[in-house]
Symmetry: C2
Subunit: 201 residues, 2 copies
Amino acid sequence: MASNPVEEKGLAPWRSSLARALHKNSSLVYARYLQLATVTEDSLPANRTIVFRGFLEETNQLKFITDSRSQKVEEIEKNSWGEACWYFPKTREQFRLRGKLTVVRLNNPHPKLAKARHTTWQEISDNAKQQFTWPHPREHRGQTNTFELPPPNSLEPLSNFCLLLLNPTTVDHLELRGEPQNRWLHQKEDQQTWFTQAINP
Amino acid sequence: MASNPVEEKGLAPWRSSLARALHKNSSLVYARYLQLATVTEDSLPANRTIVFRGFLEETNQLKFITDSRSQKVEEIEKNSWGEACWYFPKTREQFRLRGKLTVVRLNNPHPKLAKARHTTWQEISDNAKQQFTWPHPREHRGQTNTFELPPPNSLEPLSNFCLLLLNPTTVDHLELRGEPQNRWLHQKEDQQTWFTQAINP
């Protein structure tokens, strides 16, 4: 992680294409769902659906939420690389976004990140908040219903609530509707510069 | 790969749930699209959308197609583990299928697999066939249009056409519509036996 993970200038060149895709697919609630791949300690691929929660202010980092007890948090602490695959059904296009992941836990020392964690908690629905009161994910499910705890505080995140950030350094954008198809590869060269080229689909 | 990769008896316990999801989502063409994660030689996650092409006859192996020139073929030859993440929008459920991948190329020595490669070629659309005549994927796109080669033979697969098989050994099925949610973990214990348990979402 860079010394200051939130310092970044300007929109990356893939941001306008992604904004257009989000806009054109906005009638589908699941157009904000994407699949995040990580690598386990045993070098196995892991892949799950997550919900896009917007961009971290003034950066090109995608925001998600996760539970500190989930397997992906453990995986990311061993290998912080992730690749998100995001398919937009209406416009028939795919974005593959590869970059480093950052888990922003309780007591993150960076004030802007700690604040973003708080703000994100306040923005998510009551149902989304409630899930952080549930018993430990992936453990054997008991007979008794332990899912009905009182709703958590709407201002103060529960301790297991994490903000998850993806900072893409390679973005592969494929339009299936092109003639025959269009594909662009965007690669980050340094903190300020992206290199974009048209490639074969 | 087992000595006989197509020998397997009986439907796995997750097959009925998956069949139901496919049926209930069949009005959405993209309900047959899923995301396949693999691991690169440098231990980076890779993730892309692929199209489900049914099951290999009398097995629980999922069929896909791929181009021998694609990056995933290279990745799979180094690390054959894959995890498919399959989200069904209408029924709001997710299947995560982890297992070994097999690339069935031209001249595969196993007669049943060689035959399945042929049959799959014959089953795919002309548009899908045509993509195998395109120039090398992910290379710099030239100025001239080299995408208009004559249509390939409809019976005999092009040499770069591969059948791709995923043989799941762990299937994690999550129903978001449950109360609060339902999640099952299916684990393959040996060639004949699966172990299924309800786990916390």
